[in-house]
């Protein structure tokens, strides 16, 4: 059972990558009607509006939950061998990701009129994102120090590419396939974590040189 959990965790992280890709597929790939001109009250299944309003939020949230579960098994496997600062970073990143997931789900489930509660949820999500970013980078650096370069680099790369993607969006640096490029890179990074988790050894099997 002890060997299966990390492998399942790796599978979950890989599935999170798939969900992440699905949740950011271009809406133009879906059949009409597309979002834009009018609000459609009951969009047909598998239409672009249905994908934007129903599928993408659900799959995006699922990606967060799967990532949280997958990284939790990774933490469970290696926490005993971690330095205290790395353990703190890992706990912080898991807490941050958990809060982001709760925040995103809360904002999506709230009625439109609950602006105040929604704003609080968004603020909580922003705070959680900062904690998760710092935590994941620290957690990844810890693995690098253990010469687990792929796992460490991938963990640290997740928030870095997310931040780069956010800045690109905020600065309006839009070029063709820009969003898709970042999503593909982030998905690749998640796949890397999933694969290493599936195939790799526990931290206890290797000490830093």
């Amino acid at each position: 059972m002890g060997n299966i959990r990390p492998k399942l965790g790796g599978l979950f992280v890989s599935l999170a990558a798939v969900c992440r890709v699905v949740s950011e597929l271009p809406l133009s790939w879906w059949p009409a009607p597309s979002p834009g001109d009018s609000y459609v009250f009951n969009p047909p299944l598998f239409s672009a509006i249905w994908a934007e309003r129903i599928l993408y939020p659900a799959v995006g949230s699922l990606a967060g939950v799967l990532l949280l579960i997958g990284l939790s098994t990774l933490f469970q496997r290696d926490s005993a061998e971690m330095a205290s600062w790395q353990r703190s970073c890992a706990i912080g990143s898991l807490a941050g990701i958990g809060c982001i997931v709760v925040s995103v789900v809360t904002v999506q489930l709230l009625p439109a009129k609950a602006v105040v509660t929604g704003a609080l949820g968004a603020l909580l999500g922003l705070l959680a994102a900062v904690i998760a970013t710092v935590g994941l980078v620290g957690w990844g650096v810890g693995y690098v120090l253990f010469e687990r370069y792929r796992l460490g680099g991938a963990l640290a790369a997740i928030p870095l590419f997310e931040v780069l993607k956010l800045f690109r969006s905020l600065l309006g640096l839009d070029f063709e396939y820009a969003g898709g490029l970042f999503t593909a890179v982030i998905a690749f990074v998640l796949f890397t974590i999933g694969y290493v988790q599936w195939a790799g050894n526990a931290l206890s099997s290797q000490k830093p040189s």
Partner: protein, 316 residues
């Protein structure tokens, strides 16, 4: 407003300005004749200020409410056939080949369109009566249904609005300040009510859909498409922000309206065609505030702009 809502018949476009009643060629807009008549002004129910009452047409006869009475005009050459100088219309007449219904200061008159003789009159407030299956329906202080032949009142129901009725498939559709209401044509009983907002403008009804503009206090207006139901209240299908907009006409697959607000898509404020099913803006024709509905043909639209320019779109 310099020109009335255009009316299209007999391959001609009829409109009136302060300079007279005009007939234009539908094909190229060239003037066919002009008659020196001054149309009556009235307050637009669409909230665009005072506008000129348009002519109505049946067969080869035009009827125009003028400052000097109601006038019957031969549509072929513009000659005046009859004039009732004592009849000052206060709303848009409704005409068939054998009947002309004219709202006039709290009274509805039925007139013989061939010679202008009065057949009957009833004390009802009306803007533009609707005529269906021998019943004439008006909306003013109340919704009233009358026998079209005799003027006998069949039923009346109180209403809050200054609109006109739309009657389709045995239902009287009325936009009011209390919502959009559907009543039975036979006895006036309320069948359903959409009370999510004010619907003070007349709806446009097709076999499948009701289009109506919801007015939000201190907010932008929205065109709604409601799916008609045989047994119950219509269900909203889509809505679109249209500023101080209006919905003018609809076919099975599209609805034509006016959009006055800012638009961040490809469609500028002006005439906008939405697809019927999901409200996608198929095309837009930039124009200033359009104070009156365009005339909609099989494959063309004849529109009048705020400065009185008549434009024909599409067609062959």
């Amino acid at each position: 407003m310099d020109a009335t809502q255009p009316v299209v018949a007999n391959k001609s476009v009829y409109t009136a300005t302060q300079d007279g009643l005009f007939s234009l060629s539908l094909r190229d807009g060239t003037q066919q004749w002009q008659q020196d008549l001054k149309p009556v002004t009235y307050s637009s129910i669409w909230g665009y200020g005072d506008i000129l009452l348009p002519p109505t047409v049946a067969d080869q006869r035009l009827f125009l409410p003028t400052t000097n009475g109601l006038v019957g005009v031969d549509a072929r050459d513009g000659s005046i056939v009859w004039r009732d100088t004592e009849l000052q219309a206060t709303g848009t007449p409704t005409v068939t080949n054998s009947s002309l219904f004219v709202p006039a200061d709290g009274t509805l008159l039925m007139i013989d369109p061939s010679d202008g003789s009065r057949q009957w009159s009833e004390q009802v407030d009306a803007t533009m009566p609707a005529l269906v299956d021998g019943t004439v329906v008006t909306v003013g202080d109340e919704v009233v249904a009358m026998d079209a032949t005799t003027g006998e009142r069949r039923w009346g129901r109180p209403v809050s609005g200054d609109t006109y009725p739309v009657v389709v498939d045995g239902t009287v559709y009325t936009g009011t300040r209390d919502g959009l209401i559907g009543r039975s044509l036979s006895d006036g009983t309320e069948q359903w009510r959409i009370d999510r907002g004010r619907f003070s403008l007349p709806p446009v009804v097709t076999p499948d859909t009701i289009y109506a503009v919801e007015q939000v206090p201190e907010g932008s207006e929205a065109t709604f498409a409601f799916t008609r139901s045989d047994d119950g209240s219509p269900e909203p299908r889509w809505c679109s922000d249209v500023g101080d907009g209006a919905v003018w006409a609809a076919a099975d697959d599209a609805v034509l309206g006016f959009h006055s607000g800012e638009y961040d898509g490809d469609v500028s404020p002006g005439l906008v065609m939405f697809t019927a099913q999901f409200g996608e803006a198929a095309w837009g024709y930039p124009s200033e505030v359009s104070p009156a509905p365009p005339a909609v043909l099989d494959n063309a639209i004849v529109s009048v702009s705020g400065d009185g320019v008549i434009t024909a779109l599409g067609g062959e």
